[in-house]
């Protein structure tokens, strides 16, 4: 990890390239493996791609939700604070599977006529809302960790509240929040598997189908497990490098 600390930019670049090469190219080595994995190589690759898409979309939206709701939770405006608290309370207190099913089954009844959400979109929405709630707590802790004196100094220099937040509070709170956010992202890679319940053909669903056809669960699930490990490794390398990049001006 020392190399990561010294070259965060290159590590991020390498992790991203590695992830892309893996996603596009994994069908090639997989197809040379014996049955039941070899013949289903393309399915595994497609499933992994769906898993990564779900993770990236829900992960990004979740960070935005986390920042907004985290800010809401430290707001002086109590209705906003109450709303954000209720959101976190609701999401953290109910199972993710229930949330996914709820969005999938309830959304068509709530949405106006004519708008039809795909299964994938339902999964992405439910996962975003879920990780957003967990991110909220991390971001809130990060905001509270920024010394108030720096906020006063920014105000005294004439920076507006928004400028103060963007230039002083947010960068420092993200540095504090990042390890916890990275942890949430690693969970998300795996939690996205629950989308199988609403017939999104992601990695776990692929594994379930392939073993059901071949009656050989062991090689199939070992392959699926290995792919998940490679994905989580890529994501954690990425976030560790980001952490190193943001880790400036800190006491050691």
């Amino acid at each position: 990890m020392n190399w990561t600390r010294k070259n965060p930019g290159w590590t991020m670049f390498a992790a991203m390239i590695g992830l892309l090469v893996f996603l596009w190219g994994m069908a090639i080595p997989l197809s040379s493996m014996p049955a039941p994995v070899g013949p289903a190589a393309q399915q595994f690759a497609d499933g992994a791609r769906i898993t990564v898409w779900l993770t990236l979309i829900a992960g990004s939206v979740g960070v935005v939700i986390g920042v907004l709701a985290g800010l809401g939770k430290v707001s002086k405006f109590w209705p906003l604070r109450a709303f954000c608290e209720a959101y976190v309370w609701l999401i953290r207190g109910t199972p993710l599977l229930l949330q996914i099913l709820f969005v999938w089954l309830a959304a068509p009844e709530i949405m106006p006529e004519g708008i039809i959400l795909s299964d994938f979109a339902c999964a992405a929405i439910a996962l975003s809302l879920n990780i957003g709630a967990y991110n909220t707590e991390c971001v809130r802790a990060g905001i509270l960790a920024v010394p108030h004196g720096q906020v006063e100094a920014a105000h005294a220099l004439g920076l507006s509240p928004l400028q103060t937040f963007m230039a002083v509070v947010l960068p420092q709170s993200m540095r504090v929040a990042l390890p916890a956010l990275a942890n949430n992202l690693a969970s998300l890679v795996k939690d996205s598997s629950l989308a199988y319940a609403i017939s999104v053909v992601e990695l776990t669903m692929v594994g379930y189908r392939v073993q059901a056809q071949s009656y050989q669960p062991i090689p199939v699930f070992l392959t699926i497990g290995a792919i998940y490990l490679i994905l989580t490794t890529a994501f954690t390398t990425l976030t560790a490098a980001l952490e190193a990049k943001l880790d400036v001006g800190q006491k050691r």
Binding site: A153, L157, G158, A167
Partner: protein, 254 residues
């Protein structure tokens, strides 16, 4: 150095009229009135909890006053955001705990506000910042981060950061109280140089030597009111109030 002449000619830049401030049931300021003139260096002294820091902080609305009126350079300080922005551009502040932005390099600490608030170009802001770092003797530290500097160096950077906005008034809130003794002088030297440059300064301080040597005017706070408003020479020679006499004997022998 000669208060009478300074008060006759120059323009008033800060006018505080009957300022009141309470924290819950604690009354921090009781109808405090004072007028400060352009170019004047005022030392504000008094025991801790006397309201001197609170008074300073109401002048750029880090604390909102509950009653009374503050007018700075002709602008009324109130909830009006436009007024507040205008005033904060004119009034710089240096804090006891430096409050440098720890995620930014020294240079970025100085360029942030000029670029965001005054919309200066990066090149112009950096040139100005380097000039100011030169002035406080820290141009070689421009690329370091606050945590890599000593307390005295950080406070000199904080002074340069405030100066980068070209304030008309600089407020100092116990600028040397958090420093190790051997670092106090390097900060006082910078402040002394500033005082002679003609900028208006209000300095809440425990450094009696500095007050005596540099200030044109001395204000003694006690229990939320101004007890003495005089010249340093007068104050140290023969304070009028018993509380001021007691305070002086404490700082002299304490």
């Amino acid at each position: 150095m000669n208060t009478a002449a300074a008060q006759a000619g120059p323009r008033p830049i800060i006018e505080a009229r009957a300022i009141g401030k309470r924290f819950g049931s604690f009354v921090a300021l009781k109808d405090v009135s004072a007028t400060f003139y352009e170019g004047q260096v005022t030392a504000i002294v008094g025991p801790s909890g006397s309201g001197k820091s609170t008074f300073l902080r109401t002048l750029n609305r880090l604390e909102a006053h509950d009653s009374g009126e503050i007018v700075i350079d002709g602008i009324v300080l109130n909830d009006n955001v436009k007024n507040l922005d205008a005033i904060r551009r004119e009034v710089g502040m240096v804090f006891q705990s430096f409050n440098l932005f720890s995620h930014l390099s020294i240079l970025r600490n100085l360029t942030l506000a000029p670029m965001r608030v005054r919309k200066m170009s990066r090149a112009a802001a950096e040139a100005k910042a380097m000039g100011l770092l030169e002035r406080v003797g820290l141009s070689s530290q421009a690329d370091k981060y606050p945590v890599q500097l000593s307390g005295g160096q950080q406070q000199r950077v904080a002074i340069a950061r405030a100066l980068a906005m070209d304030p008309k008034v600089l407020l100092f809130d116990e600028p040397t109280s958090a420093l190790d003794p051997e670092m106090v002088n390097e900060v006082l030297a910078v402040m002394r140089e500033l005082a002679h440059s003609g900028i208006t300064m209000l300095v809440v301080t425990h450094e009696m030597g500095f007050a005596k040597e540099v200030a044109d005017r001395l204000i003694f706070f006690d229990e939320g009111v101004i007890l003495e408003d005089t010249t340093p020479t007068n104050f140290f020679a023969n304070p009028d109030h018993a509380r001021a006499q007691a305070f002086l004997s404490q700082v002299r022998h304490g």
